[in-house]
Every structure is written in structure tokens, then in C-alpha cells.
């Protein structure tokens, strides 16, 4: 008998597993789920994993403004970070600028690229995270490359995407092949559903694993300690989404 859990709790537990082994995880603005997951990963690591959450005063040691995030990344002092996108394509290119029409006068305009055109190149483990899994988000080719999924061999690029997590599934990214591989499908969803909702081509095994549900212990942490910790930065998220 397993305890019922929400999609948010599942995503937090999946990300927390992906972060195991990292020394320093940084979380950008407006990222409550990655933030909670990073705090959970720290808890599961016994405290050896360091977490920096932008927008937090408690979980942020920066004394040189946000410049410090980029300087740390350039020096290899950040192991994992999260990026999303209004569009993400099959080569891992991300678009945070806009779609349709002709740039700069796109039909749909999003806020902008933030630090993606830098961090995507420099942080070794970038987890792409976007809950919405539809053909309008996961497209064959992005309309604007805020940051490319891969670079030529002559471009300095220690970093890049390792995974893409959505509300339906987890993909891993093969940097040499520049393609996603379906790693697991979340409980309650099917590989066919993933196929029909994905606008780009990807690799998949004949039978796909199911994403592991969060354990009882994990859920207890998410609904207790982690909820209290993330509430400092995201009070409404903690109150409405975490038990």
C-alpha cells in the first residue's frame, strides 16, 4: 500500500534523485519545484550537498550580488542548475524569448533568456524542467535559440543538458547524438501518450520503465522539513502544493 502523492511531489523526488552526487546545486528565480528538490537532495546527502537558491536570503551565501552565480559557474563551482523554456526542441535547444512571427516582433513574447546563454554552457548537469508536456512546448525546432543544446567541438563547453523532466516523463540527453532518450514514464501515463504529446523525435526502448514513485520516507520529508525550508522563498507554493 503506497501513500497517494501529487505530481509536484513526484517531480520533486525525481529531481532530488538526479541531483545525488552533486557538490553544489544552484536554483534560479521562480523555481519552487527545483528549489524544493535541491533541499531534499541536500537532506538525502546528509548535508554534504550545498544548495544556493536565488531569491532566498537564508539559502544564498552570495556577497557579490548575482554576479557571483555566473562567476562560480565559470569556475566550475556549480555542478547542477535548472533551465526551462517556452519551447524546447529535440536537440536540446531552448527558447525563452518568443514564438511565431519574426523576431523581435514575435507573435508570443516571453520574458527573455535570463542567464541561460551562459549557464547552459558552463554547468555540467543542467536539468531541463518544464511541467507542460505538449507539442507546442516540445517542438521540432525552436523559433529562437536562447541557448543551444550542444556546441561544436571547438567551443568551450563543459556544461549542457543531462535530462528533460516534464509532467509526463523523464528524458535523458545524449550529448554525442544530440538527442533525447525516453528514460521513464510517470505513473498514470503511457509511452504512447508521451509520443503523441512530443513534437520532436527521440529514442526509446521497446518497453519503457516507469518513473519511481516517491517513498513514504521521501514524502514525509517533502511534507515536513522541506516544506518548511522552501516556505522561506516560496510561501504560497509551500502552503498550496506541499501537504
Amino acid at each position: 500500500m503506497t501513500t497517494a502523492y501529487s505530481q509536484v511531489e513526484l517531480l520533486i523526488s525525481v529531481i532530488a534523485q538526479l541531483l545525488q552526487g552533486s557538490r553544489h546545486v544552484a536554483v534560479g528565480a521562480s523555481s519552487p519545484i527545483p528549489g524544493a528538490a535541491a533541499l531534499l537532495a541536500r537532506r538525502l546527502s546528509g548535508g554534504s550537498l550545498r544548495v544556493t537558491i536565488l531569491g532566498s536570503r537564508k539559502h544564498n551565501f552570495f556577497t557579490n550580488g548575482s554576479v557571483e552565480l555566473f562567476d562560480l559557474a565559470a569556475q566550475g563551482r556549480i555542478d547542477a542548475f535548472f533551465l526551462g523554456g517556452g519551447q524546447i526542441d529535440g536537440e536540446g535547444n531552448i527558447n525563452l524569448v518568443g514564438s511565431g512571427g519574426h523576431y523581435p516582433a514575435n507573435d508570443v513574447r516571453w520574458p527573455g533568456s535570463f542567464g541561460s546563454a551562459y549557464l547552459y554552457y558552463l554547468v555540467p548537469k543542467v536539468i531541463l524542467f518544464r511541467e507542460e508536456h505538449t507539442p507546442r512546448v516540445l517542438v521540432p525546432k525552436v523559433d529562437f535559440i536562447s541557448s543551444p543544446g550542444s556546441s561544436g567541438s571547438n567551443v568551450y563547453r563543459p556544461g549542457g543538458p543531462t535530462h528533460l523532466l516534464t509532467g509526463l516523463c523523464l528524458f535523458s540527453f545524449d550529448r554525442a547524438a544530440r538527442r533525447f532518450h525516453l528514460a521513464s514514464v510517470h505513473p498514470g501515463h503511457s509511452a504512447d501518450e508521451v509520443r503523441s504529446q512530443t513534437g520532436f523525435a527521440y529514442d526509446a526502448a521497446p518497453s519503457t520503465a516507469q518513473t519511481a514513485a516517491p517513498s513514504e520516507a521521501m514524502l514525509a520529508l517533502i511534507r515536513g522539513e522541506i516544506r518548511d525550508q522552501i516556505a522561506e522563498t516560496y510561501p504560497r507554493f509551500a502552503a498550496s502544493q506541499l501537504g
Binding site: S30, S66, V67, F70, P104, R109, G112, F114, L119, L122
Partner: protein
């Protein structure tokens, strides 16, 4: 000691000429919203506006009021209240020249300005459409290595930097605390105007515990005592964001008429007794 002029918020608005290149900080770092109001009231035009490194309602209001000709930033966002509605409308209508950037590029270009350098190299960017669209940026081969292309950014030296801080002293020194990017911006700019919550008679540079986080008066052109000067945004422990007002803005500013009505009321309102 040359005294930094203490002035009113209106004076600051008047001191920023039409067509200036103006740098401002992100929402959590002390946005001088009272100066935004003064600029709109005086009908400033054709600003080259730089959001360091991203920006929010301050920029959206100025775009809606027709004050900005060129916008250079990595993002315009109202955070949990969504994308800036007037920014989106202006982009679609090609009313603003957009220079899309990425956060570290804005910081690095300001740091070059701070050092008096003509340009600065930056990692990343190669293969992005941000770079493809920036005619002012170049790619060179790293002269110290083989096969290592790297982007060069021209230095940014804004005409004016404007931000809100907690404390200034009578001598014109401004405490910036952890908000070092305000310091970078001010040191890169030709003129810096600051609004502050409080003014002290004690010289901030005489206090070793605080002096390292102080923007010294030599960089400060003018200071206005403006308690509440970052509202409706939150400011440190001084006040929370005005959520109902921000939510109302995000809703009403979606239409031109809704924005005009909001702006009219907002300009009447005075958070600041300047």
C-alpha cells in the same frame, strides 16, 4: 569634503535628460520606483533603458508611458504575476528597439566600464540567436590558445545609474550591503542617483564593519530621502511587495485603456513624501 547634493525625487527625475542611457537594478535589489513615477510625470522620452540584468514593473510602466526607445536586458518579468503586459505589446508593435541579452553579459559589460576597459570577453553565447542578433558583439579567437572562439562585449558606461538603498550618510556615502551589483552599476555609470530609506549623520566609511559594503560618495551624484521608495516592490525587511496592486497591474495593463487608467491613479498616489 565635497557634499553630495541631497535632492528630491522630482529633482532626480528632472536631472535625467531625454535620450539618456539609464541602468537600473532587478526587482529584489532595490528599484527606485519613486523615480519611475517622477520620470513618467515629467514625460521623459527616448531612453535607452538597461535592466541589470533583468527588470520588471518599473520597465513595464515606462514602456507603457512611452518613455523608452531602446531596451537592453536579459528579461522583463512581473515574477509570479507573469510577463510585463506593456513590454509584450510594445514588442509586438515594434515600438521599442529590443536588445536581448543574457544576465552575465550585462554584468560583464558593466564591469568593463567599471575598469575603464574598452571591452571584455565572455564565455557562452556562441551558437545562440542572442549573439546572432547583437551586431555590437563580436567573436574572436582567444589569442592565448588554439581553436578557442570567445565573445567580446563592448564596455557599458551608462549615462545614469538609479537605484534604491537602505541608508545614506550626510556625506553622500551609500550602504549597498549585499547588493553589489548596484555598486558595479554605479561605478560604471557617469552619474548615479540613489533614493534611500534612511539618512544617518554617522559617516558610513568610519565604520569598518560596514565600509566594505558602501558605495563611496565619489560615485554618487545625488541622493533623495524617499522612505518607501521601492514600493510596490518589496524592499529587504522594510516592506513586503504590494501584492494586490501588482496583481491589479498585471490584469489591467493588458489593455491600453486599462494601463492608462492604472497609470493615472498610480501617478496621483504618493508612497513617498518627497
Amino acid at each position: 569634503m565635497q557634499a553630495t547634493p541631497f535632492m528630491t525625487v522630482q529633482d532626480i527625475g528632472a536631472a535625467i535628460p531625454d535620450g539618456s542611457q539609464v541602468a537600473v537594478v532587478k526587482d529584489t535589489s532595490g528599484v527606485a520606483m519613486s523615480v519611475t513615477r517622477a520620470l513618467i510625470r515629467r514625460g521623459v522620452r527616448a531612453l535607452h533603458w538597461i535592466g541589470v540584468p533583468q527588470t520588471g514593473i518599473q520597465t513595464d510602466l515606462l514602456i507603457g508611458a512611452g518613455c523608452i526607445a531602446t531596451l537592453e536586458t536579459s528579461a522583463v518579468s512581473l515574477g509570479e504575476f507573469g510577463t510585463g503586459p506593456r513590454f509584450v505589446a510594445a514588442i509586438k508593435a515594434s515600438e521599442v528597439r529590443m536588445l536581448d541579452s543574457t544576465c552575465p553579459a550585462i554584468y560583464a559589460a558593466l564591469q568593463a566600464g567599471q575598469k575603464g576597459l574598452p571591452f571584455i570577453p565572455l564565455r557562452g553565447l556562441i551558437g545562440s540567436d542572442i549573439l546572432a542578433r547583437r551586431a555590437d558583439w563580436k567573436v574572436i579567437d582567444n589569442p592565448f590558445a588554439e581553436r578557442d572562439p570567445i565573445v567580446l562585449l563592448p564596455a557599458l558606461r551608462p549615462d545614469v545609474a538609479v537605484f534604491h538603498a537602505s541608508l545614506a550618510d550626510r556625506y553622500g556615502n551609500v550602504f549597498v550591503g549585499r547588493e553589489r551589483e548596484a555598486l558595479i552599476m554605479a561605478q560604471a555609470a557617469y552619474a548615479t542617483y540613489v533614493t534611500v530609506e534612511e539618512v544617518t549623520d554617522q559617516n558610513l566609511l568610519a565604520d569598518d564593519a560596514r565600509a566594505g559594503a558602501v558605495l563611496p560618495a565619489i560615485y554618487v551624484t545625488g541622493i533623495a530621502h524617499a522612505p518607501g521608495g521601492a514600493a510596490p516592490l518589496a524592499y529587504l525587511d522594510y516592506y513586503e511587495q504590494d501584492e494586490p496592486l501588482l496583481a491589479r497591474y498585471a490584469r489591467e495593463a493588458r489593455t491600453r485603456a486599462g494601463f492608462d487608467a492604472f497609470l493615472h491613479r498610480w501617478l496621483e498616489q504618493d508612497h513617498v513624501s518627497a
